[in-house]
Symmetry: C2
Subunit: 464 residues, 2 copies
């Protein structure tokens, strides 16, 4: 306004006639065409050609332009992050729910399907094995189930945090916004990635039947996977987290007594972390949530400090800020992940602690343990690289995980039942039916297929 640029602002603009719905002069629009999924959502393209947008079209709750063209800044420069925080918290939550749906379908089907023998088993003596009794099947699906619980719980917590944040902003308190934005950015990234990959793992665990549309799983994947690229591409989002992490580290370096946001408290270990070495006296310690916190905090500060040192080293070699930042992008994922999984682990663990029922709490504690130990197992080099953990630890973790998976086996179906998804919520997945009547239902669906309407295809006459 008045020849000055103020950045991006939201507008709500009339693009079609209210009389006959035709597009207004100067407007070109249309549907962008068929997509992987979301085909009932009419994503469009839009072009303005000498089209005048009136001042009233601007959404002026925070930033404002008056009749004279004077611009008033929003009360806080980051206020427009608020919507993004809300949407991204929602995607974290959705990641948990979508993944839970996939787990429900795959675990129920795996409890129904019987196939194959172990080496040495005689087909004439024993029936084929229920596939959920194969350790590898249970291992794969329990891992995904634990992730589903983790993201669902973290999503619920972040959504509540958003409500609190919003109420704080109403009274002019904006301190929390930057912290929550930095955390939610990476939680959105890691949960949506894990959700899409996890749905695929569930789908593959159903074998060829998971490739059928009636399983619900292909469509569920196509629905969930764009969360990785929309509302901020994941690889861009993690850079928001990194920037905030580095800023807090810098602050602590300069002012050791300055307050550090609670969820970034590992930065306070700056002086002590390098001396830490994990000591495990007996394997049961691996189930201690305080130990997990120690481990995750150590990784978070260690990776952050190393990234910071690498950035500085490159700048000392004459690379500009932008160049050094670009050079090290491939290091970012693990640094942001260290923060994100610390937040999720804390949320999940304290949620379990607050479960009143003792027996239920014990089961959910096992689910939490699978979540955190599988995460450590999959990324164990990040804990070993600086000598904090060693190869005895990594082997011990795998043994514990195998025990946890075996323990949880009888609870897998009850755990997915606990989500209380109706068959319709599971998109009438043939494999995920609550009644377990998979094969008759599968056969019934083929009768509805147009290609099966007649025994001989109508096209037969052309090839006779």
């Amino acid at each position: 306004t008045n020849g000055q640029r103020y950045g991006i602002h939201p507008f709500i603009v009339q693009i079609r006639s209210l009389v006959d719905h035709s597009s207004l002069p100067g407007i070109t629009l249309g549907d962008i065409g068929p997509k992987f999924g979301y085909n009932t959502t009419d994503n469009g393209f839009l072009r303005f050609d000498r089209f005048r947008v009136p001042r009233e079209a601007m959404l002026m709750r925070y930033a404002q332009v008056d009749m004279q063209g004077h611009y008033t800044r929003p009360p806080h420069p980051k206020l427009n992050y608020l919507t993004m925080v809300k949407v991204r918290s929602g995607l974290l939550y959705s990641s948990g729910v979508y993944l839970a749906m996939a787990c429900c379908i795959a675990i129920r089907y795996s409890a129904v399907r019987q196939q194959g023998y172990h080496p040495g088993e005689n087909p004439t003596e024993v029936p084929e094995n229920t596939i959920l009794n194969y350790q590898l099947q249970a291992y794969r699906l329990t891992t995904q189930l634990a992730n589903a619980f983790a993201f669902w719980i973290a999503g619920k917590q972040q959504t509540e945090l958003f409500e609190y944040l919003n109420s704080q902003i109403e009274i002019g308190e904006l301190d929390l916004l930057a912290e929550v934005h930095a955390t939610v950015s990476c939680l959105k990234a890691f949960s949506t990635w894990a959700c899409a990959d996890g749905i695929e793992e569930c789908r593959k665990s159903c074998g060829g039947h998971g490739y059928l549309r009636v399983s619900g799983l292909p469509d569920l994947f196509a629905r969930a996977v764009p969360m990785c690229t929309f509302e901020g591409d994941n690889y861009v989002l993690i850079q928001q987290t990194i920037r905030y992490q580095l800023k807090q580290l810098q602050k602590h370096r300069l002012h050791p007594l300055a307050a550090i946001p609670a969820s970034f408290d590992y930065i306070l270990d700056l002086e002590s972390f390098a001396m830490q070495q994990l000591v495990i006296d007996e394997p049961l310690q691996w189930l201690d949530p305080l130990l997990h916190e120690t481990i995750l905090k150590h990784r978070a500060i260690r990776l952050l400090v190393e990234l910071h040192a690498q950035l500085e080293a490159l700048q000392d070699q004459g690379r500009s800020d932008a160049e050094a930042w670009n050079d090290l992008q491939s290091e970012f994922v693990r640094v942001a992940r260290a923060h994100g999984f610390l937040v999720i682990a804390r949320t999940f663990s304290s949620c379990v602690t607050n479960v009143p029922d003792i027996e239920l709490r014990a089961v959910l504690r096992d689910v939490y343990n699978v979540f955190i130990l599988r995460h450590i197992e999959d990324n164990v080099s990040e804990f070993m690289e600086d000598g904090f953990m060693n190869g005895i630890h990594s082997r011990e973790i795998r043994v514990i995980v195998r025990d946890l998976i075996a323990n949880l086996r009888p609870n897998l179906v009850p755990l997915v039942d606990s989500f209380n998804f109706s068959d319709s919520k599971l998109w009438y997945s043939v494999l995920g039916r609550y009644d377990g009547q998979v094969y008759s239902a599968l056969y019934e669906t083929t009768k509805k297929d147009a290609r099966n309407a007649s025994d001989v295809t109508p096209a037969y006459k052309y090839i006779q």
Copy 2:
């Protein structure tokens, strides 16, 4: 036959009338319905009800049943593995080609698309960055490109090996069959997984445009991903490799002088591997293919020996063979992967060595180095767990990888051009066009969409 079971045998059976194409009495058949992909392939279901299959319907090249019902075994009990070996070699090859297609689309588009700034860059001073110049984008796509080369080359080599195997079998030589079957089983598994995941990574790297069907990438994924579950589910296939690995280990233990198949030669390091420790005097050593071989062989024997020890320990604790096998299934992936990637690395490296053109060889050597070092980077804990490698090594590898990625950046487009895919071979992907005219082509495709045939949807009259 004659009341005796002889296992599964192939038949070719007439199921429809030759007169009017109707299904024969006793036959129920139909299409299984819509799938994730392959919808132009009419996968069907089939039920026999008191339907007599004549003896002539049996494919009797190897196993035979004569008029009196006498059964003749095939000359080698594993002969029916031959078809599986052929098909799985083909899938390894296809994994390379499909992934190369995705890389071609994503890399070309990433060289066209410009978006965003690095921190500190001023939008009024510089244009937006070409996204392939973001280090993370190049890192992601170069990794996939290197995998594509690796699987393509390994697939070609295994297909040639199959031809040789086939010619050997013609003259009664069957020694190679079991070895090739064990290797191809895991190569099919790891290449198809990496192919599907890699196509998704390429698709995501195109942002929202990768979600459009006209990008070709969603359909490419749906086409490639069932390779993970068909022709032997990957998790089942790796167990074939494990069983053979264990058998060779056992053989070597009992008869240290017995011949071990060449591709399993790491088993000969049984006595020495535990004393090995990697010594790197200067970073350039990381580019030495002999060093890679040493590293991969060490992992292969180390993981195999540990798996074997765990199996024995469980049996000593009273678990049956089948139970112990099941208990440890979650350990199998890494043991089989250690074998598979050793085979691929050797094939890839020797292929590069044989490239006559020096400059081309240097570029392909970099691609090979990205392949092998990214693999080691992603699985570095497997090399560190027993103290063979350390945290200085893992950090050095990441630095080298970043240098390699930066070096290869100018060659990325030429490398995907070298596949010589026509636009039609890329399914007319709008993003992967050879001419780079992405945006005008994208806009043109929307004009062909039925939803854009009229400015106002015909449904408008119902909502007026």
